[in-house]
């Protein structure tokens, strides 16, 4: 009998967690994946994934999530819906505290991903679900033939603008720089869209309305000139924040809260690993999350082997 409930506990069911689950299952580690809401993570809200190899025509984020889950379960991964409240590190036995019980494990993988970053301007929190959206694929259809705005300039911002263009009468893309950051391919597609108007060097300073969003206050960062842009909705895609607040600084993190690991995904606490968007790195993508997950599961397996050989 192992001295703990599970060999490996995976916290988070996005691409990193599901890939780690697949590898751990094939390594015959007794593994449980804890997912707070829905497996798939941010993939779940992605319309079409075009940069994950193996799907030359793209694949919906929902479908890809489901395939990853089924593949991991085929090799024995157990998945439950539960939110982790606290991690109490060993080693050797680490404790994971849930609302109704606690579980122990030889190794823990933190794959809690990231959430959408907020603008932090007046009106934003107030109008979430009333014109402020962080999910174009969810809410785009509700803005048919209306004038809307999207804030951002990275990959997510560009692909969401391209997605929204099919519904909206007009889309204002608001970007704080003079150049977009998203993949050149997406920039090329975006520039061909007639319904998109780009507001360069511009930031949103406030979101205005009565019952719902009616207008944005914009500021030109070069000239400091301000203007009001009437829109029915604003989509925000300005990057991600790691979901690490629940750790209460247990592990070393960078200035933005991403967990710092070594190349094997190991944290300074033995037997605790981190993978995917929650980790400090240079590129947060499904493709890199999957690599992190595989590496972490392999490292956890080696770690547990060494432990048992004492």
């Amino acid at each position: 009998m192992a001295p703990w409930d599970y060999d490996l506990l995976i916290i988070g069911g996005g691409p990193a967690g599901l890939t780690a689950g697949l590898y751990a299952g094939r390594a015959r580690l007794k593994t449980l994946l804890l997912e707070k809401l829905i497996h798939g993570g941010q993939m779940m809200t992605t319309d079409l994934v075009e940069n994950y190899p193996g799907f030359p025509d793209g694949i919906s984020g929902f479908e890809l999530s489901d395939r990853m889950r089924r593949q991991a379960e085929r090799f024995g991964l157990e998945i439950i819906n539960a939110e982790v409240l606290k991690l109490e590190p060993g080693p050797p036995a680490h404790k994971v505290i849930l609302a109704d019980r606690q579980l122990s494990a030889g190794a823990v993988l933190i794959a809690t991903g990231a959430s959408y970053k907020r603008l932090g301007v007046p009106g934003e929190a107030e109008f979430i679900g009333k014109g402020v959206s962080f999910c174009a694929t969810c809410d785009g259809a509700l803005y048919r033939d209306q004038e809307i705005a999207l804030v951002g300039g990275g990959d997510t911002a560009l692909s969401e603008t391209i997605f929204l263009e099919r519904f909206a009468k007009k889309i204002h893309l608001i970007h704080r720089r003079r150049e977009l950051r998203g993949a050149k391919y997406l920039q090329e597609r975006l520039l061909q869209l007639e319904k998109v108007e780009i507001h360069w060097d511009s930031v949103v300073t406030a979101i205005k309305g009565n019952q719902a969003v009616e207008a944005l206050e914009l500021k030109d960062v070069k000239t400091q000139g301000t203007s009001t842009l009437p829109v029915a909705g604003v989509f925000i895609a300005i990057g991600i924040n790691p979901n690490t607040a629940w750790l209460n600084g247990l592990l070393p993190m960078d200035d933005w809260g991403f967990i710092i690991t070594d190349p094997e995904m190991a944290t300074p606490i033995q037997g605790i690993f981190a993978a995917g968007d929650v980790r400090a790195k240079s590129l947060w993508q499904i493709a890199t999350a999957v690599g992190d997950g595989a590496t972490a599961a392999f490292a956890a397996e080696k770690y547990l082997e060494n432990l048992s050989q004492g």
Binding site: T45, G129, C138, D139, L142
Partner: protein, 109 residues
């Protein structure tokens, strides 16, 4: 009687099927490309079966029906609304756990 599957409702029959329902009604406003909507769909289907006869469960595709979502000011999906006697008694926006939906449903009964 509520059927075992959520009943697809449209702008045309919303009043008849939902507002004039003699039992409380739960409506799931969704769209095909909304991942979180697809994720909660199985939960809504389960509830339709379990609360058969007690709650009428309907689903409205917001991409095909514009009037009803506009009337209720729906700007985000999934949105679940529970109606009782034609009035909104509970409204839930975003994908949530089964427990949250069930708690709201029990309050409405």
């Amino acid at each position: 009687m509520a059927g075992p599957e959520p009943l697809p409702v449209s702008d045309a029959n919303f009043e008849q099927e939902i507002l004039k329902s003699d039992i409380p009604a739960l409506v799931d406003f969704w769209a095909a490309w909304c991942g979180p909507c697809r994720a909660i769909a199985p939960v809504v289907e389960e509830l339709a079966r379990e609360y058969q006869g007690k709650v009428k469960v309907g689903k409205m595709n917001v991409d095909e029906n514009a009037k009803t979502p506009a009337k209720y000011g729906i700007r985000a999906i999934p949105t679940l609304i529970i109606f009782k006697g034609g009035q909104i008694v509970e409204q839930i926006t975003g994908a949530v756990s089964r427990a949250v939906i069930e708690t709201a449903l029990k309050k409405a009964l």
